[in-house]
């Protein structure tokens, strides 16, 4: 671990600092938007957007502009198409989402194959911290600030619409517009970490911290905060371990996150089981002699 801290301060290894900063900067957006994705059960939409981002990366390499900017544009276009289909088209949404997922990747791979010079698609598919430059950090910071501020301002609406969209509509809230904004925010958030963990695995980093946080809290705000902290911790641990073990950062980060989720789920399940067993005799006694108060009888 000392080796990792030494490397972080080394003038020869700026990419390591950039990778760490990229992970820490994107954590609030991942915590907020990841929680939205998990509680609304729209992981497939986030997956389709992240894979469609490859089309923008490929276009960037082919036409010679910043691939991250290309990824942002492609993810936003994919988000808009998915929003339109979800809200307006009376078709099998899951099939169309799957199509966007595969077509986006195909376009990206075609562009990469035809780009001048050798381009390794593996770096974009599975992440490569060497790809992160200083200009990318500024872009990440800007996108992160926008996503985080929007998440904070819209929190009550996000909560209300996610819980019961029809009721929110009955209050005069433009739920369709909010859902489009949220899908756009998913698009932006996905791009934040594509270069670090890659297109294939960004979906895991978007959902695992929120799913883990959800095991420990039943309040949306708390889950968002906890997911933010977990994202930062997973990223730091993944980077440190991958540097020490000379392994791919994205894959290492996801394995750590998945291990923490599995351990947390096991611990919480055991705790609940034990709690249930302790209360079982009391419940049995209550069933034999039902109380009169309505809270217990209904």
């Amino acid at each position: 671990m000392n080796e990792f801290f030494s490397a972080l301060t080394s003038q020869d290894l700026p990419f390591l600092r950039y990778a760490l900063l990229a992970g820490l900067l994107s954590s609030p957006a991942f915590g907020i938007i990841g929680t939205y994705v998990v509680v609304n059960r729209i992981t497939s939409i986030a997956g389709a957007i992240s894979h469609a981002a490859l089309a923008g990366i490929g276009a960037g390499l082919y036409f010679g502009f910043n691939p991250l900017a290309g990824a942002t544009i492609a993810a936003l276009i994919a988000g808009l198409i998915i929003s339109f289909i979800t809200l307006k088209v009376n078709e099998r949404v899951d099939s169309i989402i799957g199509m966007i997922w595969a077509v986006g990747m195909s376009i990206g791979l075609l562009f990469i194959a035809k780009s001048p010079g050798y381009q390794d698609p593996m770096s974009y598919l599975f992440g490569n911290i060497l790809l992160i430059g200083k200009s990318d950090l500024y872009l990440l910071l800007t996108l992160d600030i926008i996503t985080s501020i929007a998440g904070v301002i819209l929190f009550h609406h996000i909560q209300a619409i996610s819980f019961d969209a029809e009721f929110a509509r009955s209050r005069g809230i433009h739920t369709d517009l909010f859902q489009i904004v949220m899908i756009m925010m998913i698009s932006v958030t996905v791009v934040l970490m594509v270069t670090v963990v890659g297109i294939v695995m960004v979906i895991a980093l978007l959902t695992i911290p929120a799913a883990t946080a959800g095991l420990f809290s039943n309040r949306l705000k708390t889950i968002m905060l906890l997911a933010t902290v977990l994202t930062a911790l997973f990223h730091f641990a993944g980077l440190a371990l991958s540097y020490t073990a000379d392994s791919p950062t994205g894959a290492t980060t996801i394995i750590i996150a998945a291990a923490v989720y599995t351990l947390s789920l096991s611990a919480v399940s055991l705790y609940r089981k034990r709690k249930f067993t302790e209360h079982a005799p009391a419940v049995s006694a209550q069933a034999a002699h039902p109380p009169e108060s309505d809270a217990k009888t209904d």
Binding site: V39, Q159, D164, S170, R171, D294, D298
Partner: protein
């Protein structure tokens, strides 16, 4: 203050669900909407709330278009509409009843208003509990508290007793009795005991609207099982042949 429906029609594709519905509901009335499944009861309620737009005709509330009055409407949807595992506390659910269009607008008395609404439905002790920890009947009362949080002039309920047992049914009945008269209430229901004892008018919806004539039968029939005066739907008046299929279910009393 009244709700006015003028020749309101609605179609799902080629299927006409509501055809030229015309009615006026005055302030303080308790109107029960009954009718066969697929007859258009919930569609009519959603049109009045503004969740659906009529294909033809107009709906006004207090002389204004529905979308301008939505903040003055409390709506209790069927309990199955929301995600039962969603991580949200009872208090936060009730807070959504005070949601405004502007995300930056904050009501200063949110907590007090929400706790008062929870007090009304007898669930102030459950404010901090997650919604998924409650029973079906308790959840239904939380949704009523959410509708009441903003002290609306209009309260619209869609099948509020569909998922509750007889004990909760009676509690909801008492609650509605308490709320009736203070505000205009529209109730979509299959529960004819609610229709019987609380309604000032009964609408039967089956593509068309037909208002059942009712009469007070307190002197001859006494009280219902909840101790309220009994209203009876009169069947000595001939209705249009396709207007209503409710008579067979209603029996002598509705």
């Amino acid at each position: 203050m009244s709700i006015v429906l003028d020749k309101v029609s609605y179609e799902y594709g080629q299927n006409t669900v509501l055809d030229a519905i015309t009615a006026t509901i005055d302030q303080g009335e308790f109107v029960s909407i009954i009718g066969p499944n697929g007859g258009g009861k919930t569609t009519l309620l959603k049109l009045i709330i503004g969740l659906l737009q009529p294909g033809n005709g107009t709906i006004t509330i207090d002389g204004e278009p529905v979308h301008r009055k939505q903040q003055d409407i409390g709506y209790v949807p069927q309990v199955s509409q929301h995600d039962n595992r969603f991580p949200i506390s009872v208090l936060d659910v009730v807070k959504t009843g005070l949601l405004t269009k502007d995300p930056l607008l904050r009501n200063k008395n949110v907590y007090d208003q929400c706790m008062q609404a929870l007090e009304t439905v007898g669930l102030s002790d459950a404010a901090a509990k997650p919604i998924y920890a409650l029973s079906g009947g308790q959840k239904q009362r939380v949704l009523i508290a959410r509708a009441l949080a903003g002290s609306p002039s209009y309260l619209f309920l869609d099948e509020p007793t569909s998922n509750v047992d007889t004990v909760i049914n009676e509690q909801l009945h008492q609650l509605l009795k308490k709320l009736s008269g203070q505000r205009t209430i529209l109730l979509v229901t299959h529960d004819y005991s609610l229709v019987s004892s609380l309604s000032t008018r009964v609408f039967c919806i089956n593509r068309h609207l037909h208002e059942h004539p009712i009469e007070d039968t307190m002197e001859e029939a006494g009280h219902d099982i909840y101790g309220n005066r009994v209203m009876r739907v009169r069947h000595d008046i001939v209705l249009n042949e396709d207007a209503c299929f409710c008579e067979q279910h209603l029996g002598g009393h509705a």
